[in-house]
């Protein structure tokens, strides 16, 4: 702080006393600190210092926004393994402690600590740059950043839902959208996470069973967060640069309406397939088509999907459509298959309830 006072003494007679001398001094001290950071040779030292710089008071944030963007890209560099990207981002950008991150991903603290050490070492020794990637690299590099943030959110969304982790992912998404306001997909990701997070309390029923979106008690949805999500989506759409996260957010937005426009949702899933072809997206589209048009049409689409034979949701979706078509024996077989493949007790309970309905002759 001393040299800030020296600077003040030098500058004030010349420039006049600033309106808020206290803030100016803190700001100058911080600027000097940042200059010192920038002159540091070793990247690891730099990132550690910058991490500490994050801890300075919130109202001074405007002074160092740029370095945080560089840091995000360095942490999410594709040369680092995905789990290292996530751990590093949470540590250096999110400011989480090693024990906190270890708990979040249910790994031993020592493992997490090693992961961070190795990642920082790689950043230093492989010369991963502390820079926003060049224009032509930006689209693919942004994708890895989005993927890392989404991994954090998913880890928190469960079920069971762990609020802190979801909140951290949303904080990171908001930070990214703030630092790259002209990139539509940053707002798209932010919106998408907010829509999902808004539904967190309705996801699992009182007795711990998974509740599908359409069956959810909407009074449990966070209305304010849904509004924030819509605002973020609007920001994205106003930039007229469509992308997969915006599409997913738009689909979530449609789901949040009083009446679900399934045909619009089916259309959006088709567009999403253009960006991110994936059997899971094909499945979601098939379900939307079934609800928008006819169960038979949806079933045909599902049966054409390749590569999801071990995915429990495919079989439960099939079962559902078979039930609607009153092909009850086939529906029961599909539910059995889904049950056998379900990953956790919460999903199994949900499927068992549906299977019971099915065996009783359906509703």
């Amino acid at each position: 702080m001393q040299d800030a006072f020296v600077r003040a003494a030098e500058r004030w007679p010349r420039d006049g006393t600033p309106a808020n001398p206290g803030a100016w001094i803190v700001a100058t001290a911080k600027n000097r600190a940042i200059d010192r950071i920038r002159r540091e040779q070793t990247l690891v030292r730099k990132t550690e210092l910058l991490a500490r710089a994050q801890e300075l008071p919130e109202d001074e944030e405007a002074i160092i926004p740029d370095e945080r963007l560089e840091l995000i890209f360095a942490c999410c560099h594709p040369a680092l393994a995905a789990d290292a990207q996530v751990a590093l981002t949470l540590s250096l950008v999110g400011g989480l402690t090693t024990p906190e991150i270890a708990r979040a991903f249910i790994v031993p603290e020592a493992t997490l600590a090693q992961r961070l050490v190795r990642a920082k070492r790689k950043i230093r020794d492989a010369a991963i740059p502390l820079r926003v990637p060049a224009e032509h690299l930006l689209p693919e590099r942004l994708r890895t950043v989005f993927a890392a943030i989404y991994l954090v959110f998913n880890a928190g969304y469960g079920p069971p839902v762990r609020r802190e982790l979801c909140a951290e992912a949303i904080r990171l998404a908001l930070l990214l959208a703030t630092l790259m306001p002209d990139e539509a997909e940053t707002h798209g990701l932010h919106a998408f996470l907010l829509f999902q997070d808004a539904r967190r309390d309705a996801r699992v029923s009182a007795d711990g069973r998974l509740v599908l979106l359409d069956d959810q008690d909407r009074s449990l949805w966070d209305a304010e967060e849904t509004e924030q999500a819509r605002a973020a989506l609007d920001r994205a759409l106003s930039l007229r640069m469509p992308g997969p996260y915006q599409l997913q957010a738009a689909i979530a937005s449609l789901h949040a309406n009083d009446v679900t426009d399934w045909s619009e949702i089916a259309l959006l899933y088709s567009r999403l397939l253009d960006f991110t072809p994936s059997p899971v997206v094909e499945l979601n589209r098939a379900v939307a088509v079934a609800l928008a048009h006819a169960a038979g049409e949806g079933l045909a689409l599902i049966d054409a999907i390749e590569g999801l034979d071990d995915y429990y949701l495919l079989h439960s979706a099939r079962a559902d459509l078979l039930r609607r078509l009153e092909r009850n024996e086939e529906a029961a077989a599909a539910y059995e298959r889904a049950l056998a493949l379900a990953p956790s007790e919460i999903e199994r309970d949900f499927l068992r309830a549906r299977l019971l309905q099915e065996q009783r002759g359906g509703t």
């Binding site: 560099h77 040369a79 020794d125 492989a126 010369a127 991963i128 740059p129 820079r131 990637p133 060049a134 690299l137």
Partner: protein, 116 residues
């Protein structure tokens, strides 16, 4: 260090035209590396049948015919370059013609000249 890996089967079945295109690519890359002052050394290695593995175990030198690992892709050549950042190295690596069908491993060289 940019290590160029590829499949010998793929290399051996190239047409004359493909080889010409490849050599043009390497020629241009080499010229650009040189004029940028980034090239330390680059070589194409002789086919993997010419490889000999050497290991020393318990004081005995074990010499064997063949590469270190019997894999589908083998080391075909390398470039030792100067690059400021990993992204710069990746950029050069992506221009290696054999990166199209093979793999280039980018690995930093240990700088023994640095003082702790």
């Amino acid at each position: 260090m940019l290590l160029i890996y590829g499949s010998p089967k793929e290399w051996d079945t190239r047409t004359d035209d493909e080889v010409r295109t490849l050599m043009d690519g390497y020629g241009r890359l080499g010229a650009d590396l040189r004029s940028a002052g980034k090239l330390v050394r680059g070589e194409e290695l002789q086919p993997v049948g010419m490889a000999t593995s050497v290991q020393v175990r318990d004081g005995d030198t074990v010499v064997r015919d063949g590469p270190f690992a019997e894999t589908k892709e083998v080391l075909g050549g390398f470039y030792l370059i100067e690059a400021e950042t990993l992204d710069e190295a990746i950029d050069w690596a992506s221009r290696i013609p054999d990166a199209q069908n093979g793999t280039v491993e980018v690995r930093p060289v240990v700088d023994h000249s640095e003082s702790a």
